[in-house]
């Protein structure tokens, strides 16, 4: 339960981080909140030769409102949960974070760390996918923006190149005609989700669905959207929508995974009912 030896640096500027990444190459690893990476080191599942600690880097933990909500990669989960701007502009983000670990891990755990680890059962990657988040990546080569659809490439893998660091993500704020929700099923609060979903619906003045997003976590090998169901929902009347059908259709698109925690069959059945319930509760706000 002890990490193997590695070299360590804790730079205070982003410029130093990208220099170190370029110098150290693929054996270097970035350390954010450490709530997953440090156990992986202890279990020797990760064996980097060089650890670049982001905890002292200035200017990467802010939460700013500028049309969108810009969340710095090193914003602590606890800070986001307590932030009044998040509570007002994007309450679903706080809702997602409430499911992550416990007070003691949220005090250290970061927004960007969770996104970059991209655990298939984690809330924030699926939430970012549902929100069409934009990721700001920086390297010595410059800055580039990657959309959530292109960012998550597989279990524990993302589009980040070895010389890049996630600086922030831009998330859209909630609007009066939009409703969002995130829910999950786990054995105990704070455990990784067996299955979870994030939903966003925009409803027009004609009481029909104008736009829909539905992303999953826990169920498959990476965060994933039910794009066929999303497309089929557009134009449907809110009143009288068969939510059980929506849940069944959404889950039918996804190849559920089997593991020691739950079978694929369980994940599918539970996922269908979870999404059906989310649609029922979400649409309640629109039904007259």
């Amino acid at each position: 339960m002890k990490p193997p030896p590695f070299d360590y640096a804790a730079p205070s500027e982003l410029d130093e981080v990208v220099e170190l990444l370029a110098e150290q190459g693929e054996d270097a690893r970035l350390l954010a909140g450490g709530q997953s990476l440090v156990p992986m080191l202890a279990l020797r599942l990760a064996r980097p030769s060089f650890l670049i600690d982001l905890n002292r880097v200035s200017g990467v933990s802010g939460i700013a409102l500028d049309g969108n909500l810009r969340i710095g990669a090193m914003a602590r989960q606890a800070a986001i949960l307590a932030d009044p701007v998040v509570a007002r502009e994007l309450p679903v983000l706080a809702e997602a974070i409430r499911h992550i670990g416990h007070l003691q891990t949220r005090n250290r755990g970061t927004f960007g760390g969770s996104l970059c680890l991209s655990d298939p059962a984690a809330e924030l990657p699926a939430l970012a996918l549902m929100l069409d988040a934009e990721f700001e990546l920086r390297s010595r080569r410059g800055v580039r923006t990657v959309s959530a659809a292109d960012f998550f490439t597989g279990p524990y893998s993302t589009a980040i190149e070895f010389d890049e660091v996630l600086v922030a993500a831009n998330l859209p704020c909630v609007t009066p005609d939009t409703t969002m929700a995130i829910r999950e099923i786990s054995r105990r609060h704070g455990d990784f989700a067996l299955v979870g979903a994030a939903v966003r619906l925009r409803v027009g003045a004609d009481r029909r669905i104008a736009d829909a997003r539905l992303s999953w976590f826990g169920i498959a090998h990476q965060p994933i959207r039910s794009v066929v169901t999303e497309a089929a929902l557009i134009g449907q009347a809110v009143d009288g929508l068969d939510c059980a059908d929506v849940g069944a259709a959404a889950v039918a698109e996804i190849e559920a995974r089997d593991d020691v925690h739950a079978t694929a069959g369980y994940r599918s059945r539970a996922g269908a009912r979870l999404v059906a319930a989310m649609f029922r509760d979400t649409l309640e706000g629109f039904v007259e």
């Binding site: 030896p5 360590y8 416990h102 005090n107």
Partner: protein, 162 residues
């Protein structure tokens, strides 16, 4: 092997030492600093026995690398009671509500409760914070009674449900 000089405040006292980056803060506190009230349980962030307060928030000591403590203000369970042994109200409440038995998880639980007490958290928030701790003998009912007491500004006795 790289060695890093670090300094931090531990329970009010300035502390300086050399650490390897792969050492966890948990190991440094127990082995170098002698604060063995910080218990080593699972050592991967699940059980909560090593919970300490770093810069006023409760964190897992096993999930911080030693050099990350540089410049921090660290409090362990050793700092909670008065120097003359007078127990903190959190500790008093835990004793009176029978919320410990073998005591292994207790130092971590105390540190979480101290953070919640200092933050003026309500009962629900205290109970939720306690989910970050595993207790394998006493169970959680006593801790929940402590949460209720802390959640009430008066700390008045209310033991209607066991």
């Amino acid at each position: 092997m790289s060695s890093h000089p670090i300094s931090f405040t531990l329970n009010g006292a300035a502390t300086a030492l050399e650490v390897e980056p792969r050492w966890t803060l948990l190991d440094v506190l127990r082995r170098q600093c002698g604060t063995t009230g910080v218990h080593a349980g699972c050592e991967h962030g699940v059980c909560g026995a090593c919970t300490i307060i770093v810069d006023d928030v409760a964190v897992r000591a096993c999930l911080m690398l030693a050099p990350q403590a540089d410049g921090c203000e660290i409090r362990t369970v050793e700092s909670v009671a008065e120097p003359d042994g007078t127990l903190h109200r959190v500790q008093r409440a835990m004793r009176e509500e029978f919320s410990l038995q073998c005591g292994f998880c207790t130092p971590g639980v105390v540190m979480t409760l101290v953070q919640m007490d200092e933050a003026g958290a309500d009962e629900d928030a205290v109970v939720e914070a306690l989910t970050g701790h595993l207790c394998r003998c006493t169970g959680y009912q006593g801790m929940k009674r402590v949460a209720r007491r802390l959640g009430q500004a008066t700390g008045a006795e209310d033991r209607q449900d066991g």
